[in-house]
């Protein structure tokens, strides 16, 4: 099966600002792909190029086996997009907008529309100007999730949702994944990406800096190991791949490279383990590592 999205060497400049600087992205069909990056790194620009709203300056872009600029109309029948900042017609009601967007995409699932309105607790008779940011987002989400499409492009879709609604959103994405649909989720909410995504691409300053499965990315970082030992602590600093050892009595803490875990555990077992906690790196740590530019220090998103 051809990948849903293949982007390579994508370049886009706005005047003198180079928003995308050779970005690569590959999203396989049927996967939930996390698209991570700090503010201003080019996530939205990439999505808008994928939608044919902007034209790429250089590089190749294939979306659902088509050219997003040239074949925009036919491709858009097969995808639904939820923008990061949802702008709606102030004098139309939420229900009208959902129907409009759904019908433009080629039809809504009426039962799913009702069900989603219910699940997201959204009143469709309100005018859009009276909706809060989260409710505007729900309108766009309901319209997207109730459409019969192959690909969902979601730009920070939960930024305005409360935790209950976020949970509901995760369940919806789970259903879409099981139905074999492809989802691209741009976000900087790491727990969301961790919970939902099969693979992630991390971008920074318009370039892809890391791409792969979460498991694959974790290989790149160290696992933290905290242990309570029965006997005296062995000299761990001689072991390859073990870093930052701290010993306080029988209590020991260290970081270990993924490949060196086996040796460390053996050494600890020889000393007699009473308690052992090993914590894999969170995406937070991956994130910090990639965004920590030498100077000036990047703000933590």
């Amino acid at each position: 099966m051809t990948p849903a999205i293949v982007v390579s060497g994508l370049v886009k400049s706005f005047g003198r600002i180079r928003a995308l600087d050779g970005l690569d992205l590959e999203v396989a069909t049927g996967e939930v792909h996390g698209f991570l990056g700090p503010n201003g790194s080019g996530k939205t620009t990439t999505l808008r190029i994928l939608l044919g709203l902007l034209r790429a300056d250089a590089g190749t872009v294939r979306l659902l086996d088509g050219d997003p600029w040239r074949d925009a109309v036919t491709l858009h029948r097969r995808l639904a997009y939820v923008p990061g900042e949802v702008a709606l017609w102030p004098n139309l009601t939420g229900g009208e907008v959902i129907d409009l967007l759904g019908r433009l995409r080629g039809g809504l699932h009426p039962r799913r529309r009702t069900e989603l309105l219910d699940r997201f607790d959204l009143d469709p008779t309100q005018r859009c100007r009276s909706y809060s940011r989260g409710n505007r987002q729900k309108v766009a989400l309901v319209a997207a999730l109730a459409s019969e499409v192959d690909l969902l492009l979601l730009d920070e879709p939960t930024a305005g949702l409360d935790p209950l609604m976020e949970e509901e959103f995760r369940r919806c994405i789970g259903q879409h994944r099981r139905a074999g649909r492809t989802v691209v989720l741009s976000s900087h909410i790491l727990s969301e990406v961790e919970a939902l995504c099969d693979r992630v691409s991390i971008i920074s300053a318009g370039r892809t800096v890391e791409s792969g499965t979460l498991a694959g990315l974790r290989h790149l970082t160290r696992t933290e190991v905290v242990a309570e030992l029965a006997g005296d602590a062995p000299d761990l600093s001689v072991l390859p791949g073990v870093h930052g050892v701290e010993v306080t009595g029988h209590h020991i803490r260290c970081d270990v490279d993924a490949g060196a875990l086996d040796g460390l555990v053996r050494a600890l077992a020889d000393a007699g383990i009473t308690s052992l906690v090993s914590r894999p790196p969170t995406l937070e740590e991956l994130f910090l590592r990639h965004y920590a530019r030498p100077a000036p220090p990047a703000a933590v998103p």
């Binding site: 939608l51 109309v73 858009h76 923008p83 702008a87 139309l92 009601t93 229900g95 129907d99 492009l153």
Partner: protein, 525 residues
């Protein structure tokens, strides 16, 4: 009233280009109109002939009001600019106040400002200051310019004060309208509706009586001050008092409501949108309200003008009148000439609708709502086409309705209301290609230079100036030719030629195609 000074500085900073530009336009128009009349009518006798002719023509009285002193050059000089300028100034001040109140509130900036140490009611007061200040500056500068062109000082001051008075009243109207609705667009619509009522009252009062109707209208007050014709200074208390009342009312309303809400409560709407099937349906849904309001306005104005035509027939033997009418653009029978002039004015107004309608594209794109439609399987041409079609068909329909209303009102006087309708509708539709050219210019700007798109309003204002004051200002022919409306045959009554209509339509079509092609190629905002 903490923060007034800071907020006023912010407002002036934001308007530092727009307001001075408009103020200069008003002053230049007043001064050049005065200068050309002073040069054109050196003797009192020629002024008197023109004044008598104008005062005997109800349709001219309706459009521009009477000339109060047939011996005063000044009274003639300000005859046309007085009424139309006061109306334009009313739009400027009213919209300025709305822009600094309801628009800010609607987009949420006022929430941010309100969370700072800003006194309650300060944003409204600052907006009012900007609106009133604009009116006063226009008044003072115009008075200076008129006096400098050789007209009496007292009359010049009265004229400036009359203009300023109208501007101040509508700053108050704008302030009240901004309290009533949640949407700035509706508030602007209410202001224009109030202006239309003021115009109809004045027009009816001046042209067909009873005369006291004029006294109910702020536009009437601007005339009743009688600049250069025995100034009635006390009359300025009317606009002052009503502006004060409106200001206090707006402040009370402002204090009584919550941020982001309007006094008029919105009802919940439909939970489904079965009729929203296409971009065209969406464009129509967004524009049908404004279109209905425009249609109602056109019917009222056209019917009023139409009902005033037959009485012109009795003045056929007045050579001075014929001269004036000829100067206004007509050639044959006076009734036809007057109707042709009326239809020319309505054509310019219809261009206003068409331009606003095309600029919806710009607004939708800027607000990010175009993205929502275009991320669906909708090509850009189809998206833009919806609004373009509403603009093109809507403006043609407005002109047809206007022609029919003129015809019915005209025919009703002779007991045969429908007899002249086809002829007048045909004459009205002649304006449509020129309307389309302006709409197409707007579309071309949206395609090629989206940020400059609102500049099309300047072009429309230029077309209005050329049509209203061009002959009077003795502008050179090539300047007059820049306006598409110059090329429209003067119908009914004038010589009909299809050639200009064909090439105007061709220009409009060419610009439309070019604009759409550019829109398809460029990045979206």
């Amino acid at each position: 009233m903490t923060g007034t000074r800071t907020l006023l500085a912010l407002a002036l900073r934001r308007d530092r280009v727009l307001l001075p530009a408009w103020i200069i336009v008003f002053v230049v128009v007043a001064a050049s109109s005065a200068a050309s009349v002073v040069a054109l009518y050196p003797t009192g006798a020629s002024v008197a002939a023109t004044a008598l002719a104008v005062n005997g023509t109800p349709s001219l009285l309706a459009l521009y009001g009477p000339i109060y002193d047939p011996t005063s050059v000044g009274a003639l000089a300000i005859w046309k600019p007085a009424g139309s300028g006061a109306a334009l100034l009313a739009v400027l001040t009213g919209f300025t106040v709305i822009r600094h109140t309801r628009t800010e509130e609607e987009v949420g900036r006022l929430e941010l400002l309100g969370s700072t140490g800003l006194g309650r009611g300060v944003p409204l007061a600052v907006a009012g200051l900007v609106g009133v200040g604009t009116a006063l500056v226009v008044g003072v500068l115009s008075a200076v310019a008129l006096a400098a062109s050789g007209l009496p000082v007292a009359g010049s001051l009265a004229f400036g004060a009359a203009w300023a008075g109208c501007g101040v009243v509508f700053a108050g109207v704008g302030a009240v309208a901004a309290q009533l609705t949640r949407s700035a667009r509706t508030a602007r619509g209410l202001t224009v509706a109030a202006l239309l009522v003021a115009f109809l009252l004045r027009a009816a009062g001046d042209a067909s009586g009873p005369a006291w109707l004029t006294w109910l209208s702020p536009l009437g007050w601007a005339q009743l001050v009688r600049a250069y014709a025995g100034e009635r200074w006390w009359l300025l208390s009317l606009p002052l008092a009503s502006a004060l009342v409106l200001g206090v009312l707006a402040d009370r309303l402002d204090a009584s409501r919550d941020l982001g809400t309007g006094i008029l409560v919105e009802r919940p709407g439909p939970a489904t949108g079965p009729d929203l099937r296409s971009p065209l349906a969406l464009a129509w849904r967004l524009q049908r309200g404004p279109f209905a309001a425009w249609t109602a306005g056109f019917v009222l104005v056209a019917a009023l003008l139409g009902s005033l035509t037959p009485t012109v027939a009795g003045l056929l033997d007045n050579p001075a009148l014929q001269d004036v009418i000829r100067q206004l653009g007509g050639r044959q029978a006076l009734t036809d000439a007057v109707v042709a002039t009326d239809l020319g004015v309505l054509g310019l107004l219809a261009a206003g609708f068409a331009v606003a309608s095309v600029l919806r594209l710009h607004g939708e794109e800027e607000a990010g709502r175009a993205e929502a439609v275009l991320s669906g399987p909708v090509g850009r041409i189809r998206w833009a086409g919806g609004h373009v079609l509403v603009a093109a068909a809507g403006s043609a329909l407005l002109m047809a309705v206007a022609g029919a209303a003129v015809g019915v009102a005209d025919g009703a006087r002779s007991g045969r209301p429908w007899a002249g309708v086809p002829r007048f509708v045909g004459a009205a539709l002649v304006q449509v290609p020129a309307v389309w050219v302006l709409a197409a210019v707007a579309l071309a700007l949206v395609g090629f230079a989206p940020r400059a798109a609102p500049a099309v309003w300047v072009l429309l204002a230029g077309a209005v100036l050329v049509a209203e004051l061009g002959p009077l200002l003795r502008l050179r022919q090539w300047v007059l030719d820049l306006s598409p409306f110059t090329h429209v045959p003067h119908l009914p009554g004038g010589a009909f030629s299809v050639v200009p209509l064909v090439w105007l339509t061709a220009v409009a079509a060419g610009l439309t195609v070019a604009g759409l092609a550019a829109l398809r190629r460029r990045d979206l905002a």
